[in-house]
């Protein structure tokens, strides 16, 4: 199903013109109303009218999370407070909350985007959305709620928790669309099993899962256990909330970014340079229709890549792949950007290995060295030395191929890798600080 037949299928050349026009308007808006941006543009010698095309966006300075924190709570709002209809906030794991605001028009835009999102997942008028995202300062609950109403669906604002009651309501009210985090979906499946509720007896047909990273493996598990289609949703409150990007149920191969409202870029997190489609790097967003809280080249710190090929569903909007890491985790080894999550994918690709590993970085003379410690499980263990040596070489080759970095694999005993507070310490960097 499609919410906006025209815009979601716009030829990319027309889309670029629309983006350039909206970008200039947004730049003029923030320049005149937000001192932070005005000063930044002045320092960079940049005028909104210098931006002739979308490509010119690379001339604009970045905004990062710290800038948002520095202007806590309302310092980056671009409208007077009497125009702000709603406030949301996300609590960071460290430091202050990030506070965002919406005008009535912003809320309407967001509802439109969430309606697109639900339609993209296969929902429409007549569907019953069982919305188990939390309601409150967090954008999840209310974001989905307004979108479902806009779509013409029925919404059940169940919010999170009280799992047994949720299952009873799923049975009695007949929810057809489930919205929650992927881990909560698995939790629901587990409790259903305990309660001897057969998921196929429910009316659920699709689940829209986000707000935390998940994997293809989890998708298979959720689809199998709940007997539904499971699709990914992406969003962040700094940019809008849920509904920035949504995976279509036809393709299930990355989430379409609604580019008539957001310009997405992938940059090298180290140099800040823009990277072409297909390359992995940090995702950067510029909002081009927001009034109360526009963000300009906001660095999400999420690592992904973009695919601009037209999708099987026909949408022309780029698809972002699953977020595979945070730019904060990035290591630079002999000039190569390496993410621990890449090493993890390599290990998961080898039958019998567990994702228990540690990366040890050191410096030998002028050269960085990378040692990958991998725990030997019973499945890969052998009484013959050559078999284990072969395993080590195979991991080294795969990492070289996938991460473009040479490493030495060291096989270690299970639990040989330090775990702190239940979580494994993935990286030990012994290189001297410059």
């Amino acid at each position: 199903m499609v919410q906006n037949q025209k815009l979601e299928f716009l030829p990319r050349s027309e889309l670029a013109d629309l983006q350039a026009e909206r970008l200039r308007t947004t730049l003029r808006h923030v320049e005149s109303s937000v001192p932070f941006y005005r000063q930044k543009f002045r320092e960079a010698g940049l005028k909104p009218d210098d931006i002739k095309s979308v490509e010119d966006i690379s001339k604009i300075p970045f905004t990062n999370k710290q800038d948002l924190r520095d202007h806590y709570p309302f310092g980056l709002f671009a409208v007077p407070m009497d125009k702000v209809a709603r406030i949301h906030a996300s609590s960071g794991t460290t430091g202050k909350m990030t506070v965002v605001g919406y005008t009535l028009r912003d809320i309407d835009t967001w509802a439109e985007l969430m309606a697109r999102t639900l339609a993209c997942a296969g929902a429409g008028k007549g569907d019953i959305v069982h919305n188990a995202y939390g309601y409150g300062l967090f954008t999840g609950g209310l974001g989905v709620h307004y979108g479902a109403e806009k779509l013409g669906a029925t919404v059940i604002p169940i919010s999170g928790g009280l799992t047994k009651r949720q299952i009873m309501i799923l049975q009695d009210f007949g929810g057809t669309v489930l919205t929650c985090t992927p881990s909560y979906a698995l939790n629901l499946a587990e409790v259903m099993e305990e309660m001897k509720v057969d998921p196929s007896s429910l009316k659920l047909k699709v689940g829209i899962f986000g707000a935390e990273p998940w994997s293809e493996k989890m998708r298979e598990e959720i689809e199998r256990k709940l007997d539904i289609d499971a699709v990914d949703i992406y969003g962040l409150s700094e940019v809008m909330g849920p509904g920035v990007a949504q995976e279509c149920v036809e393709g299930k191969r990355g989430s379409h970014i609604f580019e008539d409202h957001f310009i997405a870029e992938i940059i090298d997190p180290e140099t800040g340079e823009q990277l072409p489609y297909g390359e992995r790097g940090e995702l950067v967003f510029t909002t081009i229709t927001k009034e109360a809280f526009p963000v300009i080249r906001y660095r999400t710190r999420d690592i992904t890549s973009l695919d601009a090929e037209t999708c099987v569903c026909g949408r022309t909007m780029v698809r972002m792949q699953r977020v595979t890491g945070r730019s904060d985790d990035m290591l630079i080894i002999r000039g190569v950007n390496v993410f621990p999550s890449q090493v993890e994918s390599v290990l998961m690709g080898i039958e019998g290995l567990e994702p228990h590993y540690q990366l040890v970085l050191d410096r030998l003379g002028q050269l960085d060295t990378l040692e990958v410690q991998v725990e030997v499980t019973e499945k890969v263990f052998s009484d013959e030395v050559k078999n284990l040596e072969h395993l080590g070489k195979r991991i080294e080759t795969d990492i070289k191929e996938y991460c473009a970095v040479t490493c030495k694999v060291k096989l270690v005993e299970p639990k040989g890798i330090q775990r702190s507070e239940g979580k494994a310490k993935r990286v030990v960097d012994n290189r001297p600080r410059q």
Binding site: V376, T377, E378, F381, S382, D383, E384, V385, L388, E389, G392, K410, L411, V412, E413, P414, K415, G416
Partner: protein, 143 residues
């Protein structure tokens, strides 16, 4: 005819071998034969013990990665050329010896050697034909 051998993955750091022997000793398991194959990074300890099930239980509980393999215990005449005769007859038939090690205890006048073959069943048949004595598993565990 085949004997079950336990193998244990060890990191090359001091005290790991001692830890294994201590655990087995405390568990009431006797070690009949032992060999350590090591590289610069890791080692594989191979053992023949009096009670395999108990040994596995104790070691797994302590978090070691353990495996079991079928090996063959061969009685080798304790005289010059005793072993080479056996190796020759296997080599002619294309059987590979992955590794081998000797028991400290003898069986009568014969030395007991543990062989890890790539094809144990075929190896046993060949050895039998050549009149080499193969020791029964129960006898090996009790040696």
């Amino acid at each position: 005819m085949k004997v079950e051998q336990i193998s244990i993955f060890l990191e090359n750091k001091s005290g790991r071998l001692a830890e294994v022997t201590r655990l087995l000793g405390d568990g009431g398991v006797n070690i009949r034969a032992l060999t350590l194959a090591d590289t610069t990074d890791f080692g594989i300890l191979r053992l023949i013990v009096s009670d395999k099930a108990r040994a596995l239980e104790v070691l797994k509980k302590a978090g070691f990665t353990v495996g079991t393999t079928e090996v063959v215990a061969v009685e080798v005449p304790d005289r010059p050329g005793g072993l080479s005769g056996i190796l020759d007859s296997l080599g002619e038939e294309g059987i590979n010896v992955e590794y081998m090690y000797a028991f400290v205890e003898k069986s009568g006048d014969d030395a007991v050697v543990i062989f890890r073959f790539d094809e144990p069943d075929k190896a046993i048949a060949i050895l039998r034909r050549s009149g080499v004595a193969i020791m029964a598993a129960e006898k090996v565990y009790a040696l």
